[in-house]
Amino acid sequence: MFYIIDVKGLESIYGSLKETFHVISPTLKDGILLYSEDVDFNSLPFGYTQMEGPSFYQLLQSSGRYFTYLRPSNTLKYFLRSPNMKLLTVKRSNGELSFEYHINHRKLAFFDVRRCDLKALQTLDNVYLNDRFPDPYYRSLRENMFLVGVDCQTASDVCFCHCMGVYLEDSYGADIFITELDGRFLVTALSKKGVELVEKLHIKKASVEDIQKAKEKREGLLSTFKKYLDTKDLKENLYRNIEHPYWEEIGKRCLSCTNCTQVCPTCFCFDIKEVNSIELDLSERVVSWDSCFNQTFATVHKFNIRDTITSRYRQWLMHKMAYWQDQFGEFGCVGCGRCITWCPAKIDIQVETAKLREL
């Protein structure tokens, strides 16, 4: 179902979402765009454009258009599995323990999710909702979620989603999708929830011309990408070069700071920490973000399997670009480029992967 709206219509969609959901959307915070909760419609970063490069980020106010900015620097995982999420509370009384599990039933809506992040969400679904042990914490939030996809108008210098299995024709589970036309917006309602929301607002159906125009806009995006990664036989090529001395070259530059894993929309590794009360009658088990770059991440007893930065960088890149394919049949990288922007050592995963596959 296709509809056409102006900015007022956009505002009414936003307002309508707020009636039912905790709405999370991009906004300007600390000089960058970040997903935040309870953003006022007037605080959406309409008209901003973003310049990103290796260890470089700049926002400009420009355009007179609306969705000219790109994906925010934080990702959906921040809200699905916060950096410190209470898993359970253990109470101790007379030597016996009792457990309270903290499944979160909040209804979240994301307003303005770009295709790379929608694809990343499906990638995370495959991790957390795997058939044998579906994660009820993740599942509860995921099933109650509403997703508003938005088409990008341009790619930044770090974007390469078009090489990583992110296709313009796919809406990746979004409930509605918005494509900006000249001063107006094509709304595509995709799910039952999506149709219900839009129908309630009594907005105008789109014309065939509008739909065609949106298709052209989308296709125009492809010519704006500056990066390219050849993914044919990528896994095989990386496996072949797993012991290549070039990994050392990257290891020398990498700081093991974990920035890349924190901004990555698919990095899921976590630790479980015990947070104890001083009276020792209460202990919380807290899932907290971990990173394969942390020094003791792969320690078994006192033996550290990946004791060098080189081995930890290799683990990360190999997981994203190769292991993930064996594990889940897709890449662990969606080409969003965040890790490139936020690497203080200017290590560029696309550049390094391209180099490693050709060695």
């Binding site: 599990y101 012991e243 590794c269 292991y323």
Partner: protein, 266 residues
């Protein structure tokens, strides 16, 4: 909708505590957990967290767990009491799949605490003894002091060819002294099915010898030890190459993992 929470802990009763040696204890636990041969459970200790512990034996709702007291969580087992309560979740991981060895020779090779992971396998093979041809079980221990399950050797030796070697001479030990690889030199190897659990360097050395004797690496199964935290394939800690040891393993066919297992720091 009711989804099983994989982090749910169940209560277990400590039925028996047996001190194996200076740093290792075996506990028999009664609980609702129904493991299969080769699987493990997560033990929770209040305020300290969890540790993955293999199931060394199981019968009628009671599972045996042999714990080396080396870490924060396992430290709890230092003072564990009979009739006490423990909390655990599981079972996790795959199984040894010993049925594929029916009609063939079997060689079980265990190093150190690895014997805890092969003990139930051995017992299962003994229970189904007629389904196998020659069965060897080779066990190497660092020293006499480190030996596990000493009271069981004679019982096992009645049914299978169970051989032990210790790494250093000891006045109290009259048996074999030396490396486990030497035990391999003494036995007949004719198209056997092989099950190994021990430290990585031991596994590599043993596989080299077996392979030089013509054993196909597809016939070798290895139970790996990695740091499992969640045990359900989501925390990433036990990742080894493309494998999640917690859910794809702990038992692997050696031919499947060889490429990554033989690379440093993977």
């Amino acid at each position: 909708m009711n989804v099983q929470n994989p982090y749910s802990l169940v209560k277990g009763k400590v039925v028996k505590v047996h001190r194996e040696n200076y740093n290792t204890v075996s506990v028999l636990v009664e609980s609702d957990i129904k493991p299969e041969v080769g699987q493990y459970v997560m033990f929770y200790t209040f305020g300290r967290g969890e540790a993955p512990i293999t199931v060394a034996s199981y019968q009628d709702g009671m599972s045996l767990h042999t714990v080396r007291i080396v870490g924060d969580v396992t430290g709890y087992f230092q003072h564990i009491q009979e009739e006490g309560t423990v909390y655990l979740r599981g079972p996790y991981g795959n199984t040894w799949g010993f049925e594929e060895a029916y009609g063939r020779d079997v060689i079980i090779i265990s190093g150190g605490l690895g014997l805890a992971a092969t003990r139930w396998l051995m017992e299962k093979i003994i229970q189904n003894r007629d389904n196998f041809k020659v069965v060897y079980s080779l066990y190497g221990s660092k020293s006499f002091q480190d030996l596990l399950y000493k009271e069981k050797y004679n019982i096992w030796a009645r049914e299978i060819d169970f051989r032990v070697t210790v790494g250093t001479p000891d006045p109290a030990w009259t048996g074999r002294v030396g490396m486990i690889t030497q035990l391999l030199e003494d036995i007949k190897i004719e198209n056997p099915s092989i099950f190994i659990c021990g430290p990585d360097p031991m596994v590599k050395a043993v596989v080299d010898i077996l392979s030089s004797k013509g054993v196909n690496k597809r016939e070798i199964k290895v139970s790996l030890e990695r740091h499992m935290k969640c045990s359900v394939g989501t925390c990433g800690h036990c990742m080894f190459g493309p494998f999640f040891v917690c859910k794809d393993g702990p038992v692997f066919r050696y031919s499947d993992i060889e490429y990554f297992y033989t690379k440093k720091s993977v």
